[in-house]
Symmetry: D2
Subunit: 268 residues, 4 copies
């Protein structure tokens, strides 16, 4: 029973290499997380356990892929940035997005109990993923700014919405109606006057989301090594560099972040 | 802080719709499962627990996607067949492959303990996925034949290999050397003469892999309903059709399977 | 001065092979032919010289590419059908569409004077092209039907429009207004009652467009060849098969055409 | 006869927009020009008539497409550079490459007699085309350098080859053999010692190829216009800017060219 007769079917596969010299972003996004968060009784508008579990899953991805230089997450989504000239999976889009989406989902389930010790996971969640290419550094930064502004806009809306529902006992429809057409300044005013909440004082995690980067950790190690003249050993200090994951809840729109971590845009 | 300034970055996303009127196959494949199976002490050459867990994960996919008409799996891979004119995710390749790869991986972790009650999962596994299109029914059947022949070839080789290692105490290198250049008939002879194994008597699960299909389950329900003349109620029998998953370890290369389940190729 | 330093730029090229086992259609379309036909004073609504020149250019394409089994043209467009499993240019879309669009345009200019002996070509025209894939024979026939129905609809409209303008001396705007919202039957009635034109009697070239196919021409050749017994020569008749282009103005929507030329759909 | 029944076939067309913010290059390439140049008795190794006709065809393209900022040609090929953010044809690859390849080919035929007054064109030539994207300015310059180095390498080889054939009366095979394995310096030495040719003194057209750019031509026009106080007219000078095509045979590898024409890389 030879396989050669059927192997022609491999020719129906298509190549999907990313254009070289572009930043590659893979963004994962929870599927139907509205229903998922209701069923698992997520705290609204922000559930720290879920946000931290998302970041834990993201860190698994960063540890697996050397060429990811930054990840940014908020709500039920996470974006991963590969350096411009990564050769990971020969830049094949299918490989990149499916390995990341599946490892992300598997990690989410794997670490669930660490973050939700008192809540049983009811069913396995899924995350879609897509690949987007950005030719210039400015495009990349604008993409990340787009996601971080989105985080802020959603958080502001949701904070108003859930206070109206939970504190003022409005129905969801009433709360939506109340917020319809309001500006950012209106919403801040509403939070302050009705709920005594100063939006600016809310946790940075909720307002900014989470950026995970790899900092070079330099550690010193003392080792006993043979002397060059053969007369026994001597103690010597070695320095070891290792990437160390650091999760920050900071502004990534303004220049400061990029000046403080110049190696991110310089990676290639 | 308006988002509109950054929203132009959405235009960098590309459309990846599948050509209409083609069978869409999504195949998931375990990443680095050699290492994974060693670490979790899988029985060689075939571990029933793992194969059944794979099928359980596949069934989760079939339940989630109405338009998948068949799945075929063996070893650490599973192929899912969408009907030719499915509109699922508007036929977008990224959506199809990432939702399936992530749900498959999440399910594998979610159901792990049911199949490996005595083995702790050491880390979250990942599965890549790809989309392949087949224009004709013959192409589709040839694809599935290709995978089933592959199952048989690998199983035959692995059964020889692991018997040589486990029973005859050869080293892996010696076992590979012994098998190099042998034909199918040589391997069957080796199994019989050295290990008294009749290859044909091995479990169909190992030789054929697993095909999962949806059979229409017709159930009868008795219901008390109002009489049309208003004079009280009467008992009536209703029939309900529901797709029911059926996992089979059968030949899908010959015509028999396709004649017995004609609705698969007729779906459109 | 080595080129190797720069040759990395080749890696930015992408592969664009057509999915195997699909009919490949390349359709060329005149760019800005409204302006072109005005400037060169084409007879309206149909200019035989232009239609015949289009078909001459199409025939150049059919002669160049063995694997094109049919071409269909009307107005300033022509569609070329490659057999399902053609290996031409390794099925690369860019190669297929640019070689055809450029040869078509070059031929149009090359043969211009043969069809427009009294009209000087004012500038070189251009033709865009696209590749479309059709998995099934029905899809292919529906594509060709779509184009032939389009031919009929446009011809009917244009015949009304130009009679209103040329015979009834309506302005273009008035003619458009008069035709707005009319059905096919209204237009036939208009042609008959106002201009004494029976639409059905118009030339098939205008109503049906042109389909070009390759018929096997069998020719007999008499040759003097040596006798097998060495006793001089004898005359023998040889038959030679050659594809011969045939241009028809016939219905390609109904089954008749396809039954009369079964080898077209059987080509693979 | 409604067309709607068949119109579903349009859904089989695919979108092929170029990634935004990348330089778009369309390169056209003569098909089978070896045969074409032999048949039309092109002067070897370089035929000025052909090179100038190529540039004439290229200029037609530059005049037609406002967003092309530079073209570079040599032998039977020409590359056209669209500015990074061109919206031409909505960045659709098929439209870009087929309109350019067909207009190029049509122009080549259209202007043939102007450049080859004594040679009848035997058949219409064709040119394939491809689209390649380059994310960075450096990538773009490296692409153009690659083509210009290629021009030089081929010219040097061909100059040696044809002198060996035409002057020394070697057969083509002998000439190839003689040149096999020679370095650039060997070839220059050969030209000088055997044919008294100083390679550096050959025309720049042959060594460098042709770059066509658009320079802003500023013209002054005197116009009689009404005075603002209504007391008659006064003469006033207006300046008009128009892009003017300039064809150069210069080095485009070193910085000088790019510093002299900074607006090329600044276009966006």
């Amino acid at each position: 029973m030879a396989n050669s007769k059927f192997e022609y079917v491999r020719k129906f596969e298509t190549e999907d290499r990313c254009l070289p010299n572009c930043w590659i972003i893979v963004r994962v996004d929870g599927k139907a997380f509205h229903k998922f968060s209701d069923l698992h009784k997520f705290v609204k508008p922000n559930d720290d356990r879920s946000l931290n579990l998302m970041t834990k899953a993201a860190e698994t991805i960063l540890q697996e892929f050397d060429d990811i230089v930054l990840a940014y997450g908020q709500s039920d989504e996470y974006s991963f940035v590969f350096k411009k000239n990564t050769k990971t999976y020969n830049r094949r889009q299918s490989k990149l997005m499916t390995n990341i989406s599946s490892l992300f989902a598997a990690s989410y389930v794997f670490y669930w109990a660490d973050f939700f010790p008192d809540t049983k996971l009811q069913y396995p969640p899924s995350f879609d993923a897509r690949v987007v290419l950005y030719p210039s550094d400015q495009n990349l930064r604008d993409y990340l700014s787009w996601r971080q502004v989105d985080c802020h806009i959603n958080n502001q809306y949701n904070t108003c919405f859930w206070n109206l529902v939970q504190v003022s006992a409005l129905s969801p429809a009433e709360a939506h109606g109340r917020l319809k057409g309001t500006l950012a300044s209106d919403k801040n005013e509403l939070l302050f006057s009705e709920f005594n909440i100063n939006y600016n004082n809310l946790p940075e995690l909720y307002k900014k989301g989470t950026v995970v980067i790899k900092e070079q950790e330099v550690t010193s190690v003392q080792r006993e090594i043979p002397k060059t003249d053969g007369s026994g050993t001597e103690e010597k200090t070695f320095t070891k560099k290792r990437p160390k994951l650091v999760a920050l809840n900071v502004d990534i729109i303004r220049d400061t972040f990029w000046k403080d971590h110049p190696y991110i845009l310089e990676s290639s």
